[in-house]
């Protein structure tokens, strides 16, 4: 799956007057979690998202790994943003991201060995997750460390949320369970966390297979767009403007 850095990645311009730091953070959070969600709006990092979301715990594992990488890369990129020239900017970002990913990879292999085995190639492949380079280039390289940190956190949480949500949807429909294999992450005591829905339900296999990932993500995006459009329509109605819902759906 090829992913190009989306040129339309937009961020609210940071307010020069600095009305309030917290207002900025709030805006960053809104962007990361909803308005510019990397998975639902920017559509970045779809390769790992689609491949690993076949159950909740896998999604959580990869989501957390991605979150940590995003935090580390955003902070480091912001830290060095005034010390690297434009020519070597991208290679330095890549070196930072690759180092962060490799460290997470090694740590996961040491402490969550079995889960690491299941996630396999998708941990090293976080390097190629465009969402991370995208945030480094579009945000962290232009903003102060605190803002870069908050941005990394909320972008990561937004991505993690979709991974877990899609994972939970696919696991419920495809396997009839929730939190299966939680012990891989949380130790032996988590073996009892698995929730089974009905003893006779054996699941719709399609949900676990790759097409299920595409259909699931498509439904999530459709739901988000529908919800946003409804909201816009409501606002416009309140203002007395008549605009059809369809035309306001972002393409």
């Amino acid at each position: 799956m090829s992913e190009a850095t989306n040129p339309s990645v937009t961020d609210a311009p940071s307010n020069p007057i600095q009305s309030s730091r917290w207002a900025d953070y709030k805006l960053i959070a809104e962007n990361g979690l909803w308005k510019n969600n990397q998975a639902l709006v920017a559509l970045l990092g779809l390769c790992p998202l689609l491949a690993v979301s076949n159950n909740t715990i896998n999604g959580l594992g990869l989501g957390l790994a991605t979150l940590f990488v995003l935090l580390a890369s955003n902070v480091l990129v912001s830290l060095i943003r005034n010390h690297v020239s434009d020519e070597i900017r991208i290679p330095v970002f890549i070196a930072i991201i690759a180092t962060a990913v490799t460290i997470i990879d090694l740590l996961m292999n040491a402490y969550f060995h079995t889960l690491h085995g299941i996630l396999g190639i998708f941990i090293p492949l976080i390097v190629t997750n465009c969402a991370i380079l995208g945030r480094a280039e579009a945000y962290a390289s232009k903003n102060t460390i605190d803002k870069a940190l908050v941005d990394g956190f909320f972008m990561g949480i937004g991505f993690l949320f979709i991974l877990v949500l899609l994972g939970a949807m696919r696991e419920m429909i495809g396997n009839g369970t929730l939190f299966d294999q939680a012990y891989l992450m949380f130790g032996e005591s988590a073996r009892s966390w698995t929730i089974h829905f009905g003893g006779d339900y054996h699941g719709v296999l399609l949900a676990i297979l790759p097409p299920g990932a595409f259909i699931g993500l498509g439904l999530l995006i459709a739901f988000k767009n529908y919800y946003d459009a409804k909201k816009v329509a409501h606002k416009q109605k309140d203002l007395g403007i008549q605009v059809s819902v369809v035309s306001s759906i972002k393409s």
Binding site: E87, T102, L106, N109, A110, H202
Partner: protein, 215 residues
Amino acid sequence: MGQNANFKNLLTIMFASAGKLSLFVLISIVLLLGVKTITDPLVAKAERQNLLDTLNQVMPKDRYDNDPLQDTLLLTDPKMLEMLGSEDPVMVYRARKNGKPAGLILTTIAPNGYSGNIYMLMGILAEDFRVAGVRVLKHKETPGLGDKIELNKNPWILEFNGRSLRDDNDPRWAVKKDGGDFDQFTGATITPRAVVGQVKRTLLFVKQQSEFLYE
């Protein structure tokens, strides 16, 4: 003169950039080496534990007191490998108690599954060549039908526990449809037939070669 100075200036900038990039890469390398030194022993330990956990599924822990990971035998004889359905060398882990043979753990492959090879791990006790346990490691059988050979889908695979061969052509070692003792699955006979057949062949192999295998 002006051009020359310009060129020199450009060269300085280029070297500075190259130097900075190299510095970053160097820091990365040092950092990674450091982390790797810390995690390597932990990874090795986790890998060992994983393998041991798998072996213990087919060979109860209380049956042996040695370290089967250290007491191994690599089978390379093509005739032996043929009986195990494998083209690659097979590692045999040997369990002993008080120095005496207690059991063998080895992988074996049923070549005639419904869709290709079924990879199994099998533990065989030294006394009367009884099956200590069988687990399917990897297969491509039909989900919902043939995949009941996996323990987390169906307890069927436990039917093997404690069984042994009466003679080379023990009629009990077949699925019920073929007049044997083992259940088949509704809609899937080929898969259990392949598994039963290969477990039987492996038992025969261990019986025939037991002296060589424990030596």
